[in-house]
């Protein structure tokens, strides 16, 4: 089984989000980068499948050289090799087109990606990718079992889950549940040493036309001060919720 795991390199979840003076770009000053949390779940699932059924895992990122530590980390966790498409990921469609190009030449059975990245939250790369490759796609995947070349997967729906079946090749956008938090992988020293010797191919992007473009950012307005209500004044709280906020 050949597995491709697509990862994003994103600001740590605790990062303060600031922008450059003209609000044109994200201010990377002092920001720590991590593998996108949603991608960690799919990478751990890929590792699990590799150990259980045997598989080769290629990890891929569309990004500049700064993202290589995330690719090395993924290889330290257990991916066999890595591909970096040397480009700034300007929009989701662009990223999907770059991955599709790789997938067409290398033909993978399973392509994993996180449901969305926690920076731009586009949530579109896996779906567009599957459509460009004309293969099936399961979004918000919270459970997966493989038997020969058939996948049985659960996807999250509003208020529950749906079980689906599809044949390879398949694109899966995963999240927590696909792997439990406690089963996420942390690289050990041996893995880190081995990752240094694993191949990391740097490829140039194919030329495409952008479909969307960022025109700048703004921060949410500061919240007005919290109205404090005394613990013995529950009637007061109910009155505020009913008459002022009008939510009950």
């Amino acid at each position: 089984m050949k597995i491709l795991v697509c990862i994003s390199h994103v600001p740590d979840t605790t990062s303060k989000i600031n922008f450059t003076a003209d609000n044109a770009a994200f201010d990377t000053n002092g920001v720590q980068y991590i593998i996108n949390p949603y991608d960690e779940f799919v990478l751990a699932k890929a590792m699990h499948l590799k150990e259980e059924l045997g598989a080769s895992i290629t990890v891929l990122n569309v990004g500049t050289a700064e993202t290589e530590p995330s690719l090395r980390k993924a290889m330290a966790i257990g991916a066999d090799d890595a591909i970096r498409i040397n480009a700034t990921p300007t929009d989701g469609f662009f990223v999907a087109q770059q991955i599709a190009e790789i997938a067409r030449t290398n033909t993978y059975d399973l392509i994993f990606a996180g449901r969305e990245s926690i920076d731009y939250n586009g949530g579109m790369v896996p779906g567009v990718l599957a459509t460009l490759l004309d293969c099936n796609f399961i979004n918000a995947c919270v459970g997966l079992e493989i038997e020969n070349t058939t996948a049985t997967a659960q996807r999250e729906i509003d208020g529950g889950s749906e079980t689906l079946q599809a044949k390879f090749p398949l694109v899966i956008a995963g999240q927590k549940g696909l792997t439990e938090e406690k089963d996420l992988r942390i690289p050990n020293m041996r893995g880190i040493m081995m990752a240094r010797k694993k191949p990391l191919a740097v490829l140039e992007p194919i030329a495409t036309e952008n479909k969307t473009g960022s025109k700048g950012f703004e921060k949410p307005e500061e919240n007005a001060a919290c109205k404090m209500v005394a613990a013995d004044n529950i009637d007061g709280l109910i009155d505020l919720l009913h008459n002022e906020a009008k939510v009950i």
């Binding site: 600001p11 979840t13 949390p37 929009d91 469609f93 926690i118 920076d119 731009y120 939250n121 586009g122 949530g123 579109m124 779906g127 567009v128 599957a130 459509t131 099936n136 796609f137 979004n139 918000a140 919270v142 049985t152 996807r155 999250e156 729906i157 509003d158 208020g159 529950g160 889950s161 749906e162 079980t163 689906l164 599809a166 044949k167 549940g177 938090e181 406690k182 952008n210 479909k211 969307t212 473009g213 025109k215 950012f217 703004e218 921060k219 949410p220 919240n223 919290c226 109205k227 404090m228 613990a231 529950i234 009637d235 709280l237 109910i238 505020l240 919720l241 906020a245 939510v247 009950i248």
Partner: protein
């Protein structure tokens, strides 16, 4: 030229998400000087959409589309978009909407912006405001393709009654098998989902253990609310992970969010910030959650919440 929305039904009936995209689509169509077309699959009363502004209602009745097959529905959307000469397609941000929109984008090679929170900032160029950085910021995104796809953020625009022409038209799409089979659907019966709830009641580690969750459930029951929890609570196994709300859990965009014994870590707040009104009950006056809350009570949940339940029951019986 037209604006096209997909109005999804659940067991034949329109959900709030569907009425919200129709309301949004109508306003956008007016601004563009065109009309709104809504399409809907296996709806009981498609004509309802006229009251929210649909000028044309394309109805599809097809047993093969009973379960939500995103690829098949994307094919349907593309066929209608072509027929209607559509310039903007609007899809909601439900689990199904988030599944569908990228497939349509790929199929039509159309630029897609998800989590859009208001009407476009400008039409030429076409720029929308969307949530980014997990609710910690907004991004202005230009969509430059001929056909544009908007994923409308949940509960961001609202539902507005207005008058549309409501001209109904049956449509039989060409369907090919997608190879994806729906085996079964698992839904907790009698429980309100976090996605659908107007009110969400959430508990954190301050509740000390899973045995105390009766408090959260009782409060949720009085308010007809969904129950949720913080990440540590689901990591500890006190509650199932489908109740985990926050940056890497489920997003919440309810009208009222009540957090009990949740300190308000930045990741938690990011996930629930789209809620309109936030109430925080915590013993620690320094809990960071108070900084982003609208109403706060410093107090012990085990004393405050039972009183709140009792008073709310009285309030409900007087106001119903």
């Amino acid at each position: 030229m037209s604006v096209l929305v997909f109005a999804e039904v659940s067991e034949g009936k329109f959900k709030k998400n569907a009425l919200e995209v129709v309301s949004y689509g109508k306003k956008l169509a007016e601004q563009l000087g065109t009309q709104l077309t809504a399409f809907t699959i296996n709806a009981e009363t498609p004509s309802e959409l006229a009251s929210y502004g649909a000028d044309k209602i394309v109805t599809i009745t097809n047993g093969a589309l009973t379960s939500f097959d995103a690829k098949a529905i994307a094919a349907v959307a593309s066929q209608i978009a072509q027929k209607e000469n559509t310039k903007v397609i609007i899809i909601d941000s439900s689990a199904n909407g988030a599944y569908l929109a990228p497939i349509i984008s790929g199929k039509l090679a159309a630029g897609f912006a998800s989590n859009v929170v208001e009407l476009p900032i400008s039409m030429e160029p076409f720029v929308v405001k969307r949530k980014a950085f997990s609710n910690k910021a907004f991004q202005h995104t230009e969509i430059s393709t001929d056909i544009k796809i908007i994923g409308l953020a949940k509960n961001a625009f609202g539902v507005f009654e207005t008058v549309g022409k409501g001209q109904e038209e049956d449509f039989s799409p060409e369907l090919t098998s997608t190879g994806l089979t729906s085996v079964s659907i698992q839904k907790a019966s009698g429980k309100i989902s976090i996605a659908d709830a107007e009110i969400v009641v959430s508990g954190g580690r301050g509740l000390k253990g899973p045995e105390n969750w009766g408090l959260i459930e009782d409060l949720a029951a009085v308010l007809n609310a969904a129950t949720a929890c913080s990440k540590p609570v689901s990591d500890l196994g006190w509650r199932p992970h489908n109740e985990h709300v926050g940056q890497t859990g489920k997003p919440v965009a309810s009208n009222l969010y009540i957090a009990i014994g949740v300190s308000g870590a930045i990741q938690h707040v990011a996930g629930i910030n789209a809620s309109k009104v936030k109430v925080v009950i915590n013993t620690d006056p320094e809990a960071p959650f108070f900084k982003v809350a609208d109403y706060g009570i410093v107090g012990d949940a085990f004393e405050v919440v039972p009183k709140l339940i009792q008073k709310l029951q009285q309030f409900k019986s007087q106001n119903s």
